[in-house]
Every structure is written in structure tokens, then in C-alpha cells.
């Protein structure tokens, strides 16, 4: 692997890690909300969360560009108020990746919340624990194996995000060029197949390690809860 390819791998890992870590709190809250059957507006929220699945990734990238580009309504405000830029930066690549992997992330966390025995919340309520208290002391600890597995899964999926990233963050080597973008760029050059294969192998290795790790973590954590 050449230094340039190692840089691509590093960019990919950085973007995916930032995407997962940045979206984790929101994913947990949204997943918990969706796991409550009596939540008002649950269907609308569910539809909104799943929007990136049904929209073309390029369109998602384009919408982000409209919204968060330097002249976009949110982008110009962020620029003036905080000096933060998303478009064509690594942070932007992470944001586009986070939006695309969000449905998958939320789904796996939601399954973990739904699998938790809701009768335990009743038991906690009768021990004087309020709703927020129950969320942090019962719901989260019981769901954390699922949350962890969801995070690893989302990380693996984030490593492969293409359309939204290239549209919103561009394909800038050393900044926003992740593995799939580098593979795409390599395939555009004559004789670039060998490089593409090396990058593909790196991509596959990271993804498989992630999936295997998620499975092992989940087994270990479930074992702790069932004794």
C-alpha cells in the first residue's frame, strides 16, 4: 500500500468514525422515540428517518449542498456565526455519510430498545424513577449491546458511502477522498485497476472486521444480561 493509499484509508476511517460518533446521540434519541408505540407523529418521524434510503444518494448530497453550502440558508449562518464550513470538507463528508447511514443506525438501535422488557420500566417507575431516570438507568444499559452493534454496523456502512459524499464534499485527496471515492478515481485512470483492487481489499478488510467485532460484542453483552 502506497502512502497515498494509506492516507485514503485514514481519511475513510476518520470520516466514518466522525459520522458514527456525531450521529450517535441523535440516533439513540430518535430510536428510543420510535420504539415507543404511543408516540404522537411516530409514522411521520419514521418516514423522515428513512428518507435517505429511498432518495438517490446524489440527490441527498445535492440537498445538503443547497442547505449547507456557503450560500445556503443554514450554511451561510453557520459560516457567519461560528465560521464552520461543511461543503467540500472532511466534516462535510462525515455529515453526508451520517445522513446516509442514519436509517440503518436508528433501525438497529431501535430493535435493541424494542427487545428490552418494557415491564422493567413499570417496575422502575414504581421505585420512584421518573421518565428520564428510567431512560438512563434501565433503557440505555439494557440496549447498549444493540447500540454498540449498531454503531459498528453503521461504521462499516459508512466506509462505503459514495454518492452523497462526492456530491456534497467532493473528491479531494487528503481531505474528502474516502476509499470508494479513491476506487472510483483509480478506475477512471488507465491502468488503475491494481490500485483499485488494493483499496477494495482494504475496504473489505475493515468492513468484515467491523461486522465480526459487532457480532462478538453483542454475544458477550447478551451473555452478561442473561447469566
Amino acid at each position: 500500500m502506497t502512502p497515498a493509499e494509506a492516507e485514503v484509508l485514514f481519511t475513510s476511517l476518520y470520516v466514518a468514525a466522525l459520522a458514527v460518533a456525531g450521529s450517535l446521540p441523535l440516533a439513540v434519541v430518535v430510536a428510543f422515540a420510535l420504539s415507543r408505540p404511543r408516540l404522537p407523529g411516530r409514522l411521520a418521524l419514521d418516514g423522515l428517518v428513512h428518507l435517505p434510503v429511498i432518495l438517490p444518494p446524489v440527490l441527498v448530497g445535492f440537498l445538503l449542498l443547497i442547505l449547507l453550502g456557503r450560500r445556503g440558508p443554514l450554511g451561510s449562518w453557520l459560516d457567519q456565526a461560528f465560521g464552520i464550513h461543511f461543503a467540500f470538507t472532511a466534516k462535510g463528508a462525515a455529515l453526508a455519510t451520517a445522513v446516509m447511514t442514519f436509517p440503518l443506525f436508528v433501525r438497529s438501535i431501535r430493535l435493541a430498545f424494542e427487545a428490552a422488557d418494557t415491564r422493567l420500566f413499570e417496575a422502575a417507575a414504581l421505585l420512584r424513577a421518573g421518565p428520564l431516570d428510567r431512560f438512563f438507568t434501565i433503557a440505555l444499559p439494557l440496549a447498549w449491546p444493540g447500540i454498540l452493534a449498531g454503531a459498528v454496523m453503521a461504521f462499516a456502512a459508512a466506509m462505503g458511502e459514495f454518492g452523497a459524499v462526492i456530491t456534497f464534499a467532493g473528491n479531494i485527496p487528503g481531505q474528502t477522498q474516502t476509499l470508494p471515492l479513491a476506487i472510483y478515481a483509480a478506475l477512471q485512470q488507465p491502468g488503475g485497476e491494481a490500485q483499485a483492487w488494493r483499496l477494495a481489499a482494504a475496504s473489505l478488510t475493515v468492513a468484515l472486521t467491523g461486522l465480526g467485532g459487532a457480532e462478538l460484542l453483542q454475544r458477550w453483552a447478551r451473555g452478561r444480561l442473561t447469566g
Binding site: D117, R119, L120, E122, A123, A124, A125, L126, L127, R128, A129, G130, P131, D133, T137, I138, P141, L142, R224, L225, T226, G227
Partner: protein, 325 residues
């Protein structure tokens, strides 16, 4: 603390309308399966939507979230938190209690005889241990009133009696009032100072155990083999200190003698006067004997009644085998 309830709720075609009170002490909510006992507990705890009102010591609980009612509930299925140890389960409740009647979670564990289990995960406790931990945890939250849903369901005979003893002790030591749901007449008699009998979502009769037990509407709820009478007793357990509680004497377990019996093995002989003789549908007779210890019921065949020439007002002796109680 006195609990007063006027509960109305609907579950599909089942309509529940129960008006009752549970005074200071242990009240037993008794009734056959499907009579709405568990629904009443859920409504009192705020887990089920209801109409009407619930007052606890003059405070209106209706509309309050379960966590703000100050009511504890020991579920039939324990519902221990699987990610916490026994100690952490108890500490969970203890750390949220507004005041502490018991100095520490360890003292609570000692009271409930689970000190040796404190560091174990709750996932590999036996049924009896789980029931005790669930009760200890509920008490640690220092509830103003404790609800118990069939707490003996998972326990065998010896553990059952030990658990009843713990509940009586709990009331005696800490003055905690309780409402205990059961469909077992022996458990009901052993625990109740007050009894509320429920059938098909309605309160049939309520009052002091000794009064309710004699009520025909209450006896009609019982399985024919369970028909009997409650008498106060002072039981000597082999493994416990003496405990004053009522005993349920099944009519089938009581023999009658027309003369003072001599030289027999039965340890408990009660002399009295026959108050009533009632013929049952199947031809057997229920004899009500008024004794110094209370009313005792005995079920005899027609032949026995004729042979002994039993009549109202006649003196008779009830023989009870100690092992039948």
C-alpha cells in the same frame, strides 16, 4: 396509611367497578382467577387507565404518574433488573427513597434473609430468592403503601409460609400497610386483617376477616373443598418465632364428636354448641359449631348427622388434626 379506592375500568367486554378501602394493616384482595384483582393493582399503581378516584392517607392519587404515587408494587414475576446485581437492585430503590425507614440496603437484605446473595447477579437466583429480592427492593423505596400481586405464586409450601411470616413481620416492624392479591384461601386467612372479596369485577363483600369469612357471599366464592372458617391461632413454626395469625380450617378437615373425646391423638379439640346445620346440594351437611375460639365449620355425611343425633343447640366437639392446618 388508609387507601380508599373507587375504580372503574373497561377491558374489552370486561367491566370492573370496585369500591373498597384498605385500612392500616394487611388487606387481602381475594377472588377467583379473572375477577379483576391484578387490574385493580395496576390501576392503583397508575399503570392502567381508570376512572374514579384513589386516595392514600387523604391524598388523591388519580392522575399522578406511577413514580409520584408513593405506592410500591411487587409483581408476580419479580421484574428484577437483569443488568444489576442483587445489591444494585436494592440500592436502585433505596437511593430514590425520600426517607429511610431502614438504615441501609444491607440492613434491608438482612431483614429479608438475602444478605448472602447481595453480590450475585439476579439472573441466576431461584424463584424464592427472586421473590424476596423483589420484596426487599420494593420496601427499600420506602413506599407509603405496598401492593403485592400473588407474591406466593412461585413458592412451595415451606417457602410460602416463610414468606407470609416475612410479610407479617414487615407490617409489625415498620407499620407498612399492604394490599395483597391472592386466590389461595389459606394465604388470605394467614395474612388478612381486612379482606376484600371480588367476583367478576365487583366487590362482593369486605370487612374484617372474621366477619367476611362467615358471610355466605364469600363462602359462595370458594371452591367447595375450600369451604371452612377462619379462627385465630398461635402457630409455632419449627424455624420461626411464634406468630399470631388466623388459620383457615377447611370443613372437610374437621371431625365432630357428640361426646367429649378421650384418649385420642388429635391435638386440637374445641368444644362448642351447634349453631346451624345446612344441607348442601350434594347431600352432605355443613355444621356450624360456635366455640370459644370462634366459629368452626365441619362437613359431614347425612348418615353421620343422623347417627350422632346432631341438632341445633346441641353440644359437640370439633377435632382438628394439627397437620391439616
Amino acid at each position: 396509611m388508609m387507601l380508599e379506592a373507587h375504580i372503574q375500568l373497561h377491558q374489552g367486554s370486561f367491566a370492573l367497578q370496585a369500591v373498597f378501602r384498605a385500612p392500616q394493616g394487611i388487606t387481602v384482595l381475594f377472588g377467583p382467577s379473572g375477577s379483576g384483582k391484578s387490574s385493580i393493582l395496576a390501576a392503583l399503581a397508575g399503570l392502567k387507565h381508570m376512572q374514579g378516584h384513589v386516595r392514600l392517607g387523604g391524598r388523591d392519587l388519580q392522575g399522578l404518574a406511577p413514580c409520584r404515587r408513593g405506592v410500591g408494587l411487587v409483581f408476580q414475576d419479580a421484574r428484577l433488573f437483569p443488568h444489576l446485581s442483587v445489591r444494585a437492585n436494592i440500592a436502585y430503590a433505596w437511593s430514590r427513597a425520600p426517607r429511610h425507614v431502614v438504615p441501609s440496603p444491607d440492613d434491608i437484605a438482612r431483614f429479608f434473609d438475602i444478605a448472602a446473595q447481595l453480590d450475585r447477579p439476579v439472573t441466576n437466583l431461584s424463584g424464592g430468592e427472586q421473590s424476596r429480592v423483589a420484596l426487599a427492593r420494593a420496601v427499600a423505596a420506602a413506599p407509603d403503601f405496598l401492593l403485592l400481586d400473588e407474591p406466593f405464586a412461585a413458592l412451595d409450601g415451606v417457602r410460602r409460609r416463610a414468606f407470609i411470616h416475612v410479610l407479617l413481620e414487615l407490617h409489625r416492624a415498620y407499620g407498612l400497610s399492604m394490599l395483597v392479591v391472592t386466590h389461595n384461601i389459606e394465604d388470605a386467612a394467614a395474612l388478612a386483617s381486612h379482606l376484600v372479596a371480588l367476583c367478576q369485577g365487583r366487590v362482593v363483600v369486605q370487612g374484617r376477616l372474621s366477619d367476611v369469612a362467615r358471610d355466605a357471599r364469600f363462602q359462595a366464592l370458594l371452591d367447595p373443598r375450600d369451604v371452612g372458617a377462619a379462627i385465630p391461632a398461635n402457630l409455632l413454626y419449627s424455624d420461626h418465632t411464634p406468630s399470631e395469625q388466623a388459620l383457615w380450617l377447611r370443613a372437610d378437615h374437621v371431625l365432630l364428636a357428640a361426646e367429649a373425646p378421650r384418649a385420642i391423638s388429635a391435638r386440637n379439640v374445641l368444644a362448642g354448641e351447634i349453631a346451624t346445620i345446612a344441607r348442601e346440594k350434594n347431600g352432605s351437611y355443613l355444621i356450624e359449631l360456635a366455640t370459644s375460639a370462634g366459629t368452626v365449620l365441619s362437613r359431614l355425611t347425612g348418615a353421620a348427622v343422623r347417627e350422632l343425633e346432631l341438632t341445633q343447640g346441641k353440644r359437640a366437639w370439633a377435632l382438628i388434626k394439627a397437620h391439616s392446618v
